[in-house]
Amino acid sequence: MRAFAYQRTTQIRDALNLVAQHDGARFLAGGTNIVDLMKAGVESPARLVDIRSLALGEIAEAPDGGLVLGATVTNSSVAADAQVRLRYPALSQAILAGASGQLRNMATVGGNLLQRTRCAYFSDPSEACNKRVPGSGCSAINGAHHNHAILDWTSHCVATHPSDMAVPLTAFDAVVRYETLHGPGEIPLAEFYLPVGDRPDRETALPDGALITAVVLPAAAVAGRSRYRKVRERASYAFATVSVAAALDVQHGLVRDVRIALGGVASRPWRARLAESALCGGPATAERISVAAEVEIAAAKPLRDNAYKVTLARNLIEAVLTELAADSGEERNG
């Protein structure tokens, strides 16, 4: 049996100390991913430090008018929160589009951000995988990869990031707050996930031993007019093939603010800045929406068996923006 120690803490400092003092110690929140990976032999922590009793379980108003999501707030609680639903509807929709009710009741804000890829080669220790064992190779790049990355991958790894929640958070410029033994810190989500490069095992810019304490959603009027659309291989309970979180603010016929992020296409949630630039400042016509989608996916490099995802990403950007534009039009006319 692979024995491991388990310890529950009530103080952030204790949790940080425990992880710093013990080799192979890891934080445990909802456990919906790490426990599976332990069973599969992908993760073998010597110690789990349970952080669910830390005082990080609240959703609070930020001074600037945004929201602060505590790290151990469950995914279900975020999705059901009245302020989230009113001010950031795409976030609520994204969470509800992921996993199952049972999993969402356990999974937390911080854990969701840190979940690992669902690439089948990553979760099977008998396969080569640079993300699991650096330098061992990538089985997926010439293997079964019909649901792998189309953007920003390298020969070292073609896996995608599985989170739905992180996609609207990326679109809304969320900021990750963390605590270390040397003090607190912040990283914008846009810089939180590292590019694949040649070390796909290094996934985030979080300092070693740091504990995520909160995710801050800045105030953004545009986020109130947002939606999340997820396409997957069945109607429910599957990771995204491609997903889109988008928000659109049209004033006097011109796009004043637009946010677009994609899930399922890269090793991290993909902020579609090129599409945003192409749309901002002009009218939200079908033609301009189409051009914006094309501009964004022009950089896509499909693998042998996933070119359909390029088409899907383009179509989905168009579909979601078209719906948002129609909503703006109805509001204006109505």
């Binding site: 049996m1 396969e127 069945r234 109607a235 049209v250 939200a284 534009a325 129609a326 039009g329």
Partner: protein
């Protein structure tokens, strides 16, 4: 009215008798049953698709806590290399006999320890090295190793002058269809507990027919079949994957003998995917020629499937072509391609499900080319007698299924042109498909004792894998004995009861019902004498007419409505209706549940299920439910299943089996509906979004707006 003053139980909707046990968690499955002095075996499987084991280094594993030992080809007892299974010789059953690996997932060792956790940890510490050899998993009906399939199920059809009829046809459809490797995915993973006592092998095993498994185990271990005792009281689904003698019971029995104590082998979900059988991939060429008015002239169905060189197997895809429609010329061919794949085993309407997808798609394509109603085309070509054998059908209520289904589904309002119905961005379509599923009974024995207290102990080696067989057989016994169901004590799931059909081939319940009815008849003659207890036993083997004058089938017509978003490729089934002619129905509640379950299985096959293998290593990539998608609740729409009045004359009570027919027609009905919605014919399953998405669709929809 019987002596208990109650009406007949057969024909009445009654809930499962063990339903309360199951929903309260008190029905004991094999892994729940305690066993003193139990040791636990952890199966280790090959990670190469072809090659030889160079070495299994167990040094570290043996030093780990609780480990009793490791069984592999070097120390395992010898098993009978000539063992056979229902399809013929099966060299996959003798496990741990040599170093040769013919497929990835092949069991190569069993680590035995005091606890399952210790065994699992030690199994992870086993160092296995291989000399890999080139493998071949590239399935194609044109593969150089292709050979005719076994003709155990009878010769393929060849009537009339096929080429002449094709030449004389106004329209000829000639298309190729593909279905992928699939995995059964029963809820309960395979598990067995085995022990030896005085030269007798005992096992609790999750299987679909303990008597049949006991015979194979006796042959495999070269012992008298009387010395093998296997029980399978509650089984959490099988879908065919537990019709074969599984790795879990073979390895548990070997280890129990070696370590001289009871051993349990419980597979993980991943191991179930890797090592317990699959539906093989198929490639099927269908040629159909028809006159301009839709009358069929020629039918040619050539189906090929993959199998393992280790074991004979038949995926009998050609049944529909020889049964469903009349045509002057009908030819069927069945080919097998040996590859380095997990040996397949029967799955959810074997043959009929993939065969019906290909054949009923092709029939739909004939209607498409002729621009006529595909339902009318099917009605136009109904045979009076079997189109190949010329024998009459014992009962054939397919036309009633079509007509009643069409009425309920609203088929008359259908515009038969494709891609004409839109709802916003969605394309909407409907489709239909028919099935003829071969029916009959297998030999089974029953024993009934009239007890002194007025109850009846009924023993029959049936298995209830979740279908409701137990409940159905109690009703059959009650009516046959003329008493209320509360006076029946039914004992099933035990090889010691005697020969019995397993829960497979859609024949388990019908076969065992036949045995119960015949035994009750014999017993009632003895009841004149008031002495109790009194017992009667009947084995139906001599009573079965293997050469009946009439062909015996069950029938269905399945109707489907789908929506397709061409911009994303998402296909959703909105409505499914199946009308079934399955003889006299024993329990409409449970029968409907079984058929609805089957239709959901067909939906899953149509849209989701696909085992994916790594193109380089041949290993299964989709060895969990995150990778192997079965339909989720959100994919399952309003599903209706109902019956037309039917009675099977070959059965003393009018029964026919209905275990699998629900599966068989659904994929074709959905594929035909997707064509009707989109105008694109999908000849490869599953109809996944990557196959359906249309590059220009986003620019195509009328909902596009401008708010300039």
């Amino acid at each position: 009215m019987n002596p208990d003053g109650i009406t007949a139980a057969v024909g009445e909707s009654r809930p499962r008798v063990e339903g309360r046990l199951k929903v309260t968690g008190s029905a004991h499955y094999v892994a729940d049953l305690p066993m003193p002095n139990l040791a636990h075996g952890w199966m280790v499987t090959a990670t190469v698709s072809h090659g030889r084991i160079r070495d299994i280094d167990a040094t570290d594993a043996l030093a780990m806590p609780g480990v009793l030992g490791v069984l592999d080809h070097r120390n395992a007892r010898r098993l009978n290399p000539d063992v056979a299974h229902h399809f013929g010789p099966d060299r996959s059953l003798p496990m741990l006999q040599h170093e040769v690996i013919e497929y990835a997932g092949r069991p190569i060792a069993l680590v035995v320890a005091e606890t399952p956790e210790q065994a699992r940890a030690a199994a992870a510490a086993l160092r296995v090295t291989y000399d890999a050899e080139p493998h071949d998993i590239e399935f194609s009906m044109n593969h150089p190793a292709v050979r005719p399939a076994s003709t155990l199920f009878g010769p393929e059809a060849d009537t009339g002058d096929l080429e002449a009829e094709l030449a004389a046809s106004a329209v000829v459809v000639d298309e190729v269809y593909h279905t992928p490797e699939e995995s059964h995915s029963a809820l309960e993973p395979h598990v067995a507990t085995a022990w030896w006592e005085d030269g007798h092998l005992h096992a609790l095993d999750s299987n679909q027919g303990p008597f049949g498994i006991s015979q194979v185990m006796a042959s495999l271990f070269l012992i008298d079949p009387e010395r093998v005792h296997i029980r399978a009281e509650h089984v959490g689904g099988g879908f065919g994957a537990k019709t074969v003698c599984g790795a879990q019971i073979i390895l548990a029995a070997m280890a129990a003998e070696h370590f001289q104590r009871p051993v349990r082998v419980a597979l993980t979900r991943r191991q179930v995917f890797l090592a317990t059988g699959s539906r093989p991939p198929t490639e099927q060429r269908v040629r159909i020629g028809a006159d301009a008015d839709g009358r069929l002239r020629a039918v040619h169905h050539h189906a090929a499937f993959a199998l393992s060189p280790l074991a004979e197997y038949i995926e009998w895809c050609t049944e529909q072509a020889r049964t469903l429609y009349a045509a002057p010329a009908i030819r069927t061919e069945l080919s097998a391609v040996p590859l380095n794949l997990l040996p397949p085993c029967s799955m959810r309407g074997p043959g009929a499900a993939p065969g019906s997808f290909a054949f009923e798609s092709a029939v739909d394509e004939v209607a498409e080319r002729l621009q006529i109603d595909p339902l009318q085309l099917r009605l136009l070509n109904q045979p009076v007698v079997s189109p190949v054998s010329g024998r009459p059908f014992s009962t054939r209520r397919l036309v009633q299924c079509f007509q009643e289904g069409a009425r309920r589904f609203g088929w008359a309002q259908r515009d038969h042109r494709p891609r004409v119905r839109r709802e916003g961005n969605l394309l909407v379509g409907t489709g239909v498909a028919a099935v003829a599923f071969i029916a009959g009974v297998f030999p089974s024995a029953a024993t009934i004792t009239a007890e002194a207290d007025g109850t009846f102990s009924v023993r029959v080696g049936a298995t209830d894998i979740g279908t409701g067989a137990r409940t159905a057989l109690i009703a059959v016994a009650a009516d046959a004995l003329g008493v209320g169901t509360e006076r029946i004590h039914l004992h099933i799931g035990d090889s010691d009861i005697g020969p019995a059909a397993g829960a497979g081939g859609s024949r388990g319940t019908t076969s065992c019902a036949f045995a119960i009815i015949e035994t009750a008849k014999a017993l009632r003659e003895k009841l004149v004498d008031p002495a109790r207890p009194v017992t009667a036993s009947v084995d139906t083997t001599p009573l079965i007419n293997w050469q009946p004058d009439e062909e015996r089938y069950t029938y269905s017509a399945v109707f489907a409505e789908v929506t397709v978003d061409p911009a994303t490729g998402e296909v959703r089934v909105r409505r499914l209706l199946g009308m079934f002619a399955v003889g006299r129905v024993i329990n409409p509640l449970l029968a409907r549940s079984q058929l609805i379950g089957g239709m959901i299985g067909g939906l899953s096959m149509a849209l989701h299920e696909e085992s994916v293998r790594d193109p380089i290593t041949g290993r299964l990539v989709t060895a969990d439910f995150a990778g192997y998608h079965i339909s989720a609740h959100a994919d399952v729409p309003n599903v209706e299943a109902d019956f037309v009045v039917d009675y099977e004359p070959q059965d003393p009570s009018g029964f026919n089996g209905l275990g699998e027919i629900g599966n068989a027609g659904t994929a074709a009905a959905i594929a035909n509906a997707v064509w009707h919605a989109t105008g694109t014919r999908h000849r490869t399953l599953p109809i996944s979004l990557g196959r359906v998405i249309e590059p220009a669709a986003a620019h195509d929809h009328p909902g596009a707006v401008s708010v300039a």
